[in-house]
């Protein structure tokens, strides 16, 4: 029997055994309100028109598919195509989701927006849409991340957002999420929580996926138009997994299209210093949903490691957990070194500085291309641009730019 992947999640927000609503009682009512509002809006013609209009005129969609010919030639295998989400306003796919959630917040009459951020990309995308709406935006960011992502912190401030460093736990993305949930539970009446990835309690995994699914819808049409066929394989990086599910979703029922997610293997999965929840984690409950998590034998969430702050998260969206167990998608680890090598390769062959997150996808795309014949097409989601990472890369290479 074939699975219709587009019917998921079910009414309880479950993707098979994953997903659901695992939150404290106080948040059940605001989540029910959000679910009801989103259910109404997602099929509302004027809401969809408003969303599409913003994506076209504010974000700059559609983003092109670019044939990385020199890179493909150098690799010597299948053709590598790039979905250029890096060309969006604010430099990544994250804006697709914040545009959508901002419209939902507006329709719900919310007067304050909160968000969590790791690398700062979702924080910037949230601050951006809040500036445009003229409503206050508070961004929670782990104190460690505030240190390593100073430029994005400043970008958020320039956009009028308040950045609150989080001092609890490991002081990274997972703790920022905890703190945002604590803020929300304290300010349920007027506050909208803008989650940046396809994790969290229902309806977030579905809603964030739907807003990013524009990536796959465009890509499918572009492939048919430019190449007269669908790609043989899709590749995207997976931290929480929003850019990946955004690309994958439209293709899930196309059984001939192979799907690969590249997780952050950090120093290597065997070292324990990684963020590969699907490849090396186990089913558990974190941040409101059942999914694969990285934790110790006592169920305590582990600190993760990746050169890319955006992939440095111990959980993963529940739909990815489902796709892994269903065998529909394959999730593989890419180490820091492999991602950095891919970053340089793409820069030198194509003149594109990819985000470190996206460089994991590029590395996986290169690996895959080597194994496949030249007439096959691999579509890699270039989810963001690398300007934000220039300092990190310089530091790793022993340079100090400032």
């Amino acid at each position: 029997m074939t699975i219709d992947y587009h019917r998921l999640p079910d009414a309880h927000g479950r993707f098979g055994e994953f997903g659901g609503v695992y939150v404290a009682e106080t948040l059940m009512a605001p989540l029910a309100d959000l679910t009801a509002a989103y259910e109404r809006l997602r099929t509302d013609a004027s809401f969809i028109a408003e969303f599409d209009h913003d994506l076209k005129h504010y974000v700059g969609r559609p983003s092109p598919i670019y044939h990385a010919q020199r890179l493909s030639q150098k690799v010597g295998g299948a053709q590598i195509l790039l979905k250029r989400e890096d060309l969006n306003h604010t430099g990544a796919h994250k804006i697709n989701n914040t545009i959508g959630q901002a419209l939902v917040a507006k329709h719900m009459g919310k007067r304050r927006i909160i968000a969590e951020t790791g690398a700062g990309q979702h924080g910037v995308a949230s601050a951006t849409v809040c500036a445009r709406l003229g409503i206050p935006c508070v961004v929670y960011m782990g104190a460690v991340d505030v240190e390593r992502q100073a430029i994005n912190v400043y970008r958020m401030k320039l956009l009028g957002a308040e950045v609150r460093p989080v001092q609890s736990g490991s002081k990274t993305l997972k703790d920022a999420l905890n703190e945002a949930l604590r803020d929300w539970v304290t300010n349920v009446d007027d506050t909208f929580y803008m989650i940046g990835t396809v994790a969290g309690p229902h309806p977030y995994p579905q809603m964030v996926r739907d807003f990013n699914a524009v990536v796959g819808r465009e890509a499918r049409a572009q492939m048919l138009e430019q190449y007269g066929r669908l790609p043989h394989a899709l590749v995207a990086c997976v931290g929480g997994g929003s850019n990946a599910i955004g690309l994958f979703h439209e293709f899930l029922n196309d059984a001939d299209v192979a799907i690969y997610g590249a997780e952050a293997a950090g120093d290597g999965i065997a070292t324990g210093r990684h963020a590969a929840s699907l490849a090396a984690g186990r089913p558990g409950v974190l941040h409101g949903n059942r999914t694969y998590v990285i934790c110790d034998d006592n169920g305590q969430i582990s600190e993760t490691h990746s050169v890319s702050a955006g992939l440095d998260y111990p959980g993963v969206g529940p739909e990815h957990a489902y796709l892994k167990d269903a065998g529909r998608a394959t999730y593989l680890g890419i180490t820091d070194d492999e991602a950095l090598a891919a970053f340089h390769e793409l820069a030198r062959t194509e003149g594109i500085l990819a985000a470190l997150e996206s460089s994991h996808a590029v590395a996986q795309g290169i690996k895959l291309a080597r194994e496949l014949p030249k007439d096959q097409l691999i579509l890699v989601n270039l989810s963001g641009r690398g300007d934000k990472d220039v300092h990190t890369i310089a530091r790793r290479e022993g340079l100090n730019l400032m």
């Binding site: 309880h12 659901g20 609503v21 695992y22 939150v23 404290a24 009682e25 106080t26 948040l27 059940m28 009512a29 605001p30 609890s168 736990g169 997972k174 703790d175 999420l177 905890n178 949930l181 604590r182 539970v185 304290t186 349920v188 009446d189 186990r282 089913p283 558990g284 409950v285 974190l286 941040h287 409101g288 998590v293 934790c295 034998d297 006592n298 169920g299 305590q300 969430i301």
Partner: protein, 272 residues
């Protein structure tokens, strides 16, 4: 009958407002936990809530977050916590013990394995903060093994939902006095009274009120209309930094005694 329902029945018969202190297992020191539990009972606790530390306590304020972090740094986990409850039970066979925490540690331990071992150790109930009634099936093995599942009701819980929460509740219903995290803010006692009165009409279990109860005055206020009062962050904060188990015990006793006295004075007032 269970230890929890026995205890609430006895409280009701004696017109005694229930006092439920919360301490994080293993905090301020792992060697203090069992001694603390006995000291709390001696100082007037009617039921003990023992917090299971978790790395990501999303419903907790800074005080309990830090207590969890301290306990985790000392390697406190479920094996040890169950051993402490077992040790407590050797000298106290009547005071109910409820474990309060988050799902993941229990999931990873194995819900079934945890359930049978917890019952064997003498745990009476479990309050899983991130397991609302919608996810009941997750906790089914707990109920099947005989652990009572305590549920929360919140200011945001509407009437229709409250019916379902009351129907699912075992042991007692824990009313969260305000929308927020543990240990925060001030209490709007009138709003809490209105809500608790409404809930008590619907619930078939006793109703305890927690979050934001800081001292004897607020406790007595709440006890005027609730079956029991939960006091957590203020106690945990008091215990923090104790040099040894004896100091933790002394601090706990000094903290709880005036609260117990205020609740008992309430009873005398009612009688008079």
């Amino acid at each position: 009958m269970s230890r929890i329902s026995d205890r609430f029945a006895a409280l009701q018969a004696a017109c005694r407002p229930g006092l439920i202190p919360f301490v994080t297992a293993g905090d301020p020191l792992p060697e203090a936990t069992v001694a603390l539990m006995h000291a709390l009972v001696a100082a007037g606790a009617d039921l003990i809530e023992l917090g299971v530390p978790f790395s990501d306590p999303m419903a907790d304020g800074p005080v309990i977050q830090h207590a969890s972090e301290r306990a985790l740094l000392r390697g406190v986990g479920l094996v040890q916590i169950l051993a402490w409850v077992e040790e407590f039970r050797r000298r106290d066979s009547t005071t109910p013990v409820v474990l309060m925490g988050y799902l993941n540690p229990i999931e990873i331990y194995g819900v079934q394995r945890f359930a049978s071992q917890a019952v064997a150790a003498g745990v009476d109930g479990v309050l899983l903060v991130d397991c609302p009634i919608e996810e009941l099936t997750t906790a089914q093995p707990l109920r099947a093994a005989g652990l009572e599942q305590i549920f929360l009701a919140a200011p945001t819980t509407d009437a229709a939902r409250l019916e379902k929460v009351c129907a699912a509740a075992q042991g007692f219903l824990y009313y969260v006095s305000f929308a927020g995290i543990t240990g925060a803010a001030h209490l709007d006692t009138d709003a809490v009274r209105r809500r608790v009165t409404e809930i008590r009409q619907r619930a078939h279990t006793p109703v305890a009120v927690g979050f934001g109860v800081k001292d004897a005055a607020t406790a007595a206020n709440i006890a005027g209309f609730a079956d029991a009062v939960v006091i957590g962050s203020a106690l945990v904060d008091t215990l923090a930094g104790s040099a040894d188990a004896a100091e933790a015990v002394a601090r706990a006793t000094a903290f709880l005694a005036p609260i117990r006295a205020a609740l008992d004075a309430l009873r005398t007032d009612h009688a008079a």
